[in-house]
């Protein structure tokens, strides 16, 4: 059979599967989902326990940001088992033996990046949601998507493989940091953000 298609048609016929593979298949191959060690609901803690963000994520006077409270802080409310399997797992696995919960942080940048929360919160007065989205209101901890090659979190690149930003917080590559810094009239040097 000698099928002769016009050039644009055969070009499109080749391009379509290539794009499909690149955009749909590739992200699935590149990232693996890693479950969080415990189920954690921000919503439940804000509503049932009335805790505010800085009750758990506080900026210390030394300028360091305590990403998540140490397990003693959870122990105040979760000293005993009962209620839900999540609480049981927390008490049994971490509170009683005094072990820290190995949370996986989606926002985590590579090792060579220095990101201080202090200037962004105390000087620029930015909202958490500007960079993290609605995570503070979430009903469950997000599963962590890890890049199989670099080990980086997918949140650094962002959800769209072509880096289309539907929300301001989609992706936090170097260009995203610098774009916002430029909008604020700030030119940064390599050593401001790299260590």
């Amino acid at each position: 059979m000698n099928l002769k298609l016009p050039a644009p048609v055969s070009f499109a016929a080749g391009l379509a599967p290539a794009l499909a593979a690149g955009w749909l298949l590739f992200p699935r191959l590149l990232y693996e989902e890693v479950p969080q060690p415990l189920p954690f609901s921000h919503e439940a803690h804000a509503e049932a326990a009335g805790t505010t963000c800085d009750g758990c994520h506080a900026l210390g006077p030394d300028g360091r940001f305590a990403g998540v409270p140490r397990v003693e802080a959870c122990a105040g409310c979760h000293a005993e088992k009962g209620g839900s399997p999540g609480v049981d797992a927390l008490v049994e696995g971490y509170v009683t033996p005094g072990r820290e919960v190995p949370w996986l942080f989606a926002a985590r940048q590579p090792d060579n990046v220095f990101f201080p929360h202090a200037p962004h919160l105390a000087l620029a007065k930015l909202e958490c949601a500007r960079c993290h989205g609605p995570q503070g209101k979430s009903a469950e901890a997000r599963p962590f998507a890890r890049n199989r090659i670099s080990g980086e979190s997918r949140d650094v690149w962002g959800p769209s493989i072509v880096r289309r930003k539907a929300n301001a917080w989609d992706g936090m590559k170097m260009a995203d940091c610098i774009r916002c810094h430029r909008e604020a009239g700030r030119e940064s040097a390599c050593l401001d953000c790299h260590k």
Binding site: A122, R186, C190, K195
Partner: protein
Amino acid sequence: MEPTANPRERRHRYGMVIDLDRCTGCGACTVACSVENNVPPPPERSTERTGVVWIRVSEAQDPRPAGARSVFVPVPCQQCDDPPCEKVCPQRAVELDPKTGIVAQVAVRCLGCRYCMAACPYHARSFNWFRPEWPDGTAALLNPDVSVRQRGTVEKCSFCAGRLQAAKAKAAAAGSREIDPADYVPACVEACPSRAIVFGDLEDPSSEVARLARESESFRLLPALGTRPKVLYRSVEPWVRASLSQPEVSRG
């Protein structure tokens, strides 16, 4: 992309003056520096030429026939105002920060060509010939404020930039853009038992370091090259000042 200073912030020019009459050559600065900056211990097969060191203590001899004296000279990156290493880097992995005067070596950007090492007249740069390895148990003691560099990259003293970053974050938490100078002291300065190194902001005329830098006993290594280092030395001995300004002697 030339980074420009942010108009809201004061410019700084961090620098140090090392008093050679006080230096005993004990090497405490080198050790403190390696611990602070996650410089790995040299593997057994490394030699004097292949190890990594950010502040090397070398020795200079009195060149006069009758003179049997010598002097110890600690040599960190001289933090030049006109750094030759920056000009030759094909990757732009070396950058003079106009806000602080610190010459940055961006490890992730470095491809390991070592042009900068050839360009540096002070031999203040090291190449990672080996994969960094930490003896059992010590990996947990690494400083989280400084990244570990890969094999195949060049590194050098950063004036303990991690400490500056921490000091800035502390100031920011208190609502300020200016650090308290007491919060930013490099590890070598802190460690020196004879207090031979004075560190501070050369731009601030009232600082101790700026005052010492103006004195006639203070000098730079190889001033004829025009690199304008922000690391200065001082000695009351004329032969020390004279010989360290010559290329032959300071190549230790």
